[in-house]
C-alpha cells in the first residue's frame, strides 16, 4: 500500500429516503430516491465489509428514516460484524420496545434521537407530523438499556428560544450527549431558509446560554453546538474537507463526498454496485474533483487558513455564488460575502428581537414540506 490518499473514517449510510416526517430542513436532496431503487441487504453487507477494509471506523445509519428498512436488524448486525461502530440517527418513529431490544442485541453502539423542538406544536409545525409524544416514549425505553444516547435538536428561528426546555429534556433522560445543531442551508432547508435563519440577537443569546450549560454539565452531558455558518467569520471545514474523512452512500448506492454534492453540475457519481469502494474513494472523478488544493481560487489559494477550513463548502459556494470552486461565500474574506450579508440584513430587519407573534397562523412561513418518496 503506497497510496498517498488517507482513508475515510466514517461511512454515512443513507439507507432509505422514505420517512414518516416531512421536516422543512431535511438534508436529503429535493429529488428523493424511491424504495424500488434501494440497495439490498446483501449490497449493504458488502459495502460495510469493503468500508472496514478501507479503514472506515464508524457507520452512520441515516436516511430518511433508517427504521423504515424492514431489514434494519440485519444491517446493524452486518456493519457490526464487519468491525464497524454503528450509529443510528433516527426520529424514533417506527419503533417499539421489542425492536429497540433487537437493535441493542444486534450490536448497535449509539442511538441518536432527533427532535424538532421541545414542544409538540413546534415539532408538528416543522415535521408536518405528530411525532413528539412518541419520542418521549422512546426516551423512557432507552433508560432501560446500557446504550449511548445522543439527543439531536435541530435549531432555527422558530425553536431557538426553547433551548432551556430542550436541555431540561436532555437532563431528565439517559443521554450522555446533546447536539444543538443549527440548520445548515442545503436542500429543503435552502428552500425554506427565510423562515429558519435565526436573528443575530437570538444567536448571541443562545451561545451565551449553551456556554454556561457546557460548564455546568461537564463530565455529565457533553454538549455540542453548531452555529449557522452564515453568521460565522470563517467557513466550516465542511465534511472535514472534500473526500478527506467521509463518504456517503445514497439509498440507491451512489457514492458521494457529502450530502449535497449532487447540486454541483458536471459531477458524476459512481455506484457501489458497479465499482469497489476503495477505487471510488481513491480515483473516482467526484472524489478527486475538490481533493487537495489545486482547484482553489484566490483568496483561498494563498490563505493561511486553507488547511483549516479547506475553503469551506463546495456546495454552498455553488448555491450562493454559482461557482463550486469559489471561496465559500460565508467567509468574511470571500468576494461574494456581500450576498450573505444581504440575506442576514433581511432577516435581522424583519421582526428582529420580537417575541413570537400572537396570531401565528397569519405569520407562519409558507413552508415547503418534504414529501415521502414512493
Amino acid at each position: 500500500m503506497t497510496s498517498s490518499i488517507a482513508n475515510p473514517l466514517a461511512l454515512i449510510a443513507e439507507l432509505t429516503h422514505r420517512c414518516p416526517l416531512h421536516c422543512v430542513y431535511c438534508s436529503n436532496p429535493l429529488e428523493l430516491q424511491a424504495r424500488n431503487l434501494e440497495l439490498s441487504t446483501d449490497d449493504w453487507t458488502r459495502v460495510f465489509q469493503e468500508a472496514a477494509a478501507l479503514g472506515v471506523l464508524q457507520a452512520d445509519f441515516t436516511g430518511g428514516e433508517p427504521l423504515t428498512r424492514p431489514d434494519i436488524l440485519d444491517l446493524v448486525r452486518a456493519a457490526r460484524g464487519a468491525g464497524l461502530y454503528v450509529n443510528l440517527i433516527t426520529s424514533g418513529l417506527p419503533l417499539d420496545e421489542s425492536r429497540l431490544e433487537g437493535l441493542v442485541q444486534a450490536g448497535l453502539d449509539h442511538f441518536q434521537l432527533s427532535f424538532q423542538g421541545a414542544r409538540e406544536e413546534t415539532a408538528q409545525e416543522i415535521s408536518g407530523t405528530k411525532a413528539h409524544a412518541q419520542k418521549l416514549r422512546v426516551l423512557e425505553w432507552l433508560r432501560r438499556h446500557r446504550l449511548a444516547v445522543t439527543l439531536n435538536f435541530v435549531i432555527h428561528r422558530r425553536n431557538i428560544e426553547q433551548l432551556p426546555e430542550m436541555l431540561a429534556l436532555a437532563e431528565s433522560s439517559s443521554a450522555t450527549r446533546v447536539e444543538f445543531a443549527n440548520v445548515q442551508y442545503y436542500g429543503w432547508a435552502f428552500a425554506n431558509r427565510d423562515g429558519l435563519l435565526p436573528t443575530r440577537e437570538q444567536l448571541t443569546q443562545s451561545i451565551d446560554f449553551l456556554k454556561k450549560a457546557q460548564e455546568r454539565l461537564a463530565g455529565k452531558i457533553k454538549i455540542e453546538y453548531v452555529v449557522p455558518d452564515y453568521y460565522a467569520k470563517y467557513p466550516k471545514p465542511c465534511m472535514g474537507g472534500w473526500a478527506r474523512k467521509l463518504m456517503l452512500i445514497t439509498p440507491s448506492g451512489e457514492a458521494l463526498p457529502c450530502h449535497a454534492a449532487k447540486v454541483i453540475p458536471g459531477l458524476s457519481f459512481e455506484n457501489v454496485k458497479n465499482r469497489a469502494l476503495r477505487e471510488i474513494w481513491e480515483v473516482s472523478d467526484a472524489f478527486q474533483k475538490f481533493r487537495g488544493e489545486s482547484w482553489m481560487q484566490e483568496p483561498c489559494k494563498t490563505c493561511d487558513r486553507r488547511s483549516l477550513d479547506f475553503g469551506g463548502c463546495r456546495c454552498q459556494a455553488f448555491l450562493l455564488a454559482s461557482d463550486a470552486t469559489a471561496t465559500d461565500p460565508v467567509c468574511s474574506l470571500a468576494p461574494q460575502r456581500p450576498k450573505v450579508d444581504a440575506i442576514l440584513n433581511e432577516i435581522n430587519s424583519v421582526g428582529a428581537g420580537l417575541a413570537p407573534p400572537a396570531v401565528d397562523a397569519l405569520t407562519k412561513p409558507a413552508w415547503l414540506y418534504r414529501p415521502n418518496p414512493s
Binding site: 473514517l9 471506523l57 464508524q58 468491525g83 461502530y85 450509529n87 453502539d109 449509539h110 441518536q112 446500557r146 446504550l147 449511548a148 444516547v149 445522543t150 450522555t176 450527549r177 461537564a218 463530565g219 455529565k220 452531558i221 457533553k222 455540542e224
Partner: protein, 93 residues
Amino acid sequence: MSIDLESRPRLAPGCRMNEKTQQPRTLLMPERALRLNGPSLEIVERCDGAHTVEQIITELQQLYSKAEPAKVEQDILGYLALLQKERALDFEP
C-alpha cells in the same frame, strides 16, 4: 471536575475498544475515535469498573518503572480528565 482516586472508572455506554485483531487499537465513541498508543492503551484497558484510579496509577508506575512516578500519576490523571471531558467514562464509587 476533579477525579476521586478511590473511584472506579469504566468506559461509558457507547465507548469501546475496537477488536484486538484491528490495528491500530482505537477507542471508539460517539462521533469520535481516539487512537491508543502504549500508555493510553494501558490506561483504557484498566477502565473496567474494577480498578480504582489509584490502582491504575500504581500498576502503571510499576509498568513504566523508569519514569518519574509523580509524572506517571500526573499523566494518568490528565488522560482520565480528557476522557471524562469527552464523556467517555463513568466513575463508579
